[in-house]
Amino acid sequence: MAFKDIELNMGPQHPSTHGVLRLKLTVDNEVVLKVEPVIGYLHRGMEKLWENLTYTQIVPLTDRLDYLAALSNNLAFALTVEKLAGIEVPKRGRYIRIVLAELQRLASHLAWAGFMANDIGAMSVLLYGFEAREDILDVFEEYIGARLTVHGIRIGGVPRDLDEALVSRIRGVLSGIPRRLKDIRALLDENRIWKQRTVGIGLISAAEALDFGLTGPALRASGVNWDLRKSIPYSSYDEMDFDVPLGSRGDVYDRYLVRMAEIEQSIRIVNQALDKLPPGEFMAKVPRVLKIAPGQVFQTIEAPKGVLGFTIKSNGTDKPERVKMKSPSFINLQSLEHMCRGNLFSDVVGILGSMDIVLGEIDK
C-alpha cells in the first residue's frame, strides 16, 4: 500500500496539539517530511483590543495570553508600563513579585511535565504533575482569589501583602514539591522507553536555536547560557542566588532535564525571596488615572516558556497608542519543522510537547 507523500492533518481537534494548533504534516509512511503549523483558531485580537483600554484595564486581559502562567504575563506588562511611566516599585513589592512569578514558573513547568509525559504515553506523570501544581494554585487562590487567570500583579506593585500565614503556607507547599518531583523523575529519568523516545529526538544545535530565535528552556537545553533573570536582571532578580541549568545536545531529553532542574532552582529562589522579604510598602503610589507622556519602551522578562516582551507606545492619554507583544511560544513554534523533519510521526507529539507552547499566547 502506497502511503507516500501523504498529507496528514493533525488538529485543531487532536488530543495532543495542546489546544487548537493545527499541523499540516507531509509524511512518507511514518517519516515526517514537512510540518506546517496553522495558527489563529484562538485569535481574539488582543493587541487591537488593548488600544481601547486603559493601562490598568489591560493587566487582567494579559492573564488570557499564556493561561498557564498568568502572573508572568502580568509581570511583563506591569514592568513595561512602569518603565514607560517611570514608576519605582518598592523593594517589598519586587520581592513579592519574585515569589509569585517563580511559583507561577513552578506551576507552568509541573503542568508541562505532565502534558509532555502524557503525550509520550506515561499517563501517571500527568496526575503527579497536576497534583503538585494544584497546591500552588491553592496558594494563588488564597492570595488573590483566583487560580488560573490570577491577575495578581498590578502596575506599581502587588495588590496584597504576604502575611505570616501565607508565607508559611507557601513554604509548606514548596517542601512538598521535591517529593513529587522525585516520583516523576523515578518514573522517567532512567526509563529505557522514555530515553528511546527522547534522546536524540528533535535535535537543534545552539547556533540553529539562536538563528530561529528560540528562547527559554528550549534554548538553554541546546547549551546557550541565556536566562534574562541573570543576563538582564529585572525586579531584584540580581539579588537572588540561583543557577541556570543548561543542556548539551538540544534534544527532547535535554529540554526535559533542563525544566526539571529549573523547578529545583525556582524552589530555591522562592525560599530566598521569602527569607529576605524586606519590610515596607508593597505598592508604589500610582495615580488613579494613569496618563503617560508620549514615548515608547520595550521590556522583556524570562517567562516559563521563554522571553516574553511588550513594546508599548504611549500618546499622552490613559490608553496606549499601540502594544506589541513578543510571545515566546509563537517564536519557538517556528523551529518545530526543523526539529521534526526526518523524525517519525510519533515523535512530532513528543517534540511539540517538549517545546511547551500555549495557544493563547501564539494566537493572542
Binding site: F3, L8, D119, I120, G121, M123, S124, I193, S346
Partner: protein
C-alpha cells in the same frame, strides 16, 4: 442423570457460561483498571455507581447502547460492520478451549469445566487470536480515514511480529508436555510437581511480553496510541460497535492471562503441591485458584499501563526482531536439547 439433561441442558448452560464468563470478567476488569490506575495516580476513580463503582461499566454500556451508530459516508459498509463482529467473535470462541478448572463429579456424571478438549487446542486458540487481527485491519481500512488506516497498519505489523515469539515459546512448553492439549498440559504440570513457569522462565517472560504486545496494551498500545493516532483503528466507530472493540480488548487480556496461567502456572492447580502442612490449599476449588492466578496477571496489565511510557514503532519492532525472536529461538533449542537428554 437423564440423557436430556446431560446431552442438552448442560451443553447449553456451558455455552452460555462461556459467553457470560468473559463478559463478567470484562466488566470487572474495566472497573478494576479504572480504579487501580486512579489509585496509582492518587485519584479516586469511578466510585458512585453501585458498590465502589462496580456498576460503572454497566452504566457505560447502557450509554453506548443509546448512542447513534455512525457509519462514515465513504466507509466500506460491509467490512466496517464486519470488523467489530470478527474481533469479538474470535476472542469469545477461543474460550471454548480454555479449561477453567478440574472436572466436577456430580454423582456418576463428570462435569468438565471446558467445552471442547482437543488434541490441538492450543493451536486453535492461537489461530483464533490471530483472526482478530483481521478485524483490526478491516476496521482501520474500511473506515477510509488516515488515522485509522495508520493504526491498522501498525497493528498488523505488531501482531504478526509478536506471533512469532509467542509461537516459539508455546512450542517449548509443548515439547515439555508432549501435548498441545491444554488440559493435558495442566495434568503434566501436576504430575511433574512443578509449574512450567519455574522450569522455563525465559519462555514465560518472552510469552508474557508478547502477550502484552498482542493485546495492544500499554506500553505496546501503538495501534490506538491516543496522543498520536487519536484512537487508532477504531477512531471512526461509535456506539456499540466501539464497545465491541473495547470489550474485545479486555476479552483478549483475559484470554492471554488464561493462557499464561495454563501454560506456565499450572491452570487450576493449587500452589505448593509437595508441601505437607499446606495441604489444606487443596480444599479450595481449582476454579478459584485459576481465577486468583488470572487476576494477578490482569492486575499486572493495569500496573504496567500506569507505569510505562509508550514505545515508538521502530523500537517496538526492533525489540521483537532483535531480542525476543533470537532469544526464544535459543531458548527453544535449549529446551529441546534438555528434553532429549532427559
Amino acid at each position: 442423570m437423564s440423557p436430556a439433561v446431560s446431552d442438552f441442558v448442560i451443553p447449553v448452560a456451558k455455552i452460555a457460561a462461556v459467553i457470560l464468563y468473559p463478559m463478567v470478567m470484562v466488566v470487572v476488569m474495566i472497573w478494576l483498571e479504572r480504579r487501580v490506575v486512579a489509585l496509582i495516580q492518587g485519584r479516586l476513580g469511578p466510585n458512585r455507581v453501585g458498590f465502589q463503582g462496580i456498576l460503572q461499566p454497566v452504566a457505560d454500556a447502557v450509554k453506548l447502547f443509546f448512542k447513534e451508530d455512525i457509519i462514515p459516508r465513504q466507509a466500506d459498509k460491509l467490512l466496517f460492520n464486519l470488523a467489530p463482529i470478527l474481533v469479538m467473535f474470535s476472542s469469545l470462541l477461543a474460550f471454548c478451549f480454555v479449561p477453567l478448572g478440574e472436572p466436577l463429579r456430580i454423582g456418576s456424571y463428570t462435569l468438565t469445566l471446558w467445552i471442547a478438549e482437543s488434541p490441538v487446542g492450543l493451536l486453535i486458540v492461537l489461530g483464533l487470536s490471530s483472526i482478530s487481527v483481521f478485524g483490526v485491519i478491516f476496521g482501520g481500512w474500511a473506515s477510509n480515514s488516515k488515522y485509522p488506516l495508520m493504526g491498522a497498519l501498525r497493528s498488523v505489523v505488531q501482531v504478526l511480529s509478536y506471533e512469532i515469539p509467542t509461537g516459539l515459546t508455546v512450542l517449548s512448553v509443548v515439547f515439555f508436555a508432549r501435548s498441545m492439549d491444554m488440559v493435558e498440559i495442566v495434568r503434566r504440570q501436576e504430575a511433574a510437581h512443578i509449574w512450567y513457569g519455574f522450569m522455563l522462565p525465559v519462555s514465560f517472560v518472552v510469552f508474557w511480553i508478547s502477550a502484552v504486545a498482542e493485546t495492544n496494551r500499554a506500553p505496546f498500545d501503538l495501534p490506538e496510541a491516543e496522543s498520536e493516532l487519536v484512537a487508532g483503528y477504531h477512531t471512526e466507530y461509535s456506539g456499540m460497535k466501539f464497545a465491541y472493540f473495547y470489550m474485545a480488548e479486555y476479552t483478549h487480556m483475559v484470554l492471554a492471562s488464561s493462557l499464561v496461567v495454563i501454560l506456565f502456572f499450572g491452570g487450576w492447580l493449587p500452589p505448593f503441591p509437595g508441601v505437607k502442612f499446606l495441604a489444606f490449599l487443596h480444599a479450595v476449588p481449582g476454579f478459584v485458584w485459576y481465577l486468583i492466578k488470572i487476576m494477578f496477571f490482569l492486575y499486572l496489565y493495569v500496573w504496567i499501563r500506569a507505569t510505562f511510557p509508550r514505545y515508538r514503532f521502530d523500537s517496538l519492532i526492533k525489540l521483537v526482531w532483535k531480542w525476543l525472536i533470537p532469544l526464544s529461538l535459543i531458548n527453544l533449542l535449549a529446551v529441546v536439547a534438555v528434553r532429549y537428554l532427559l
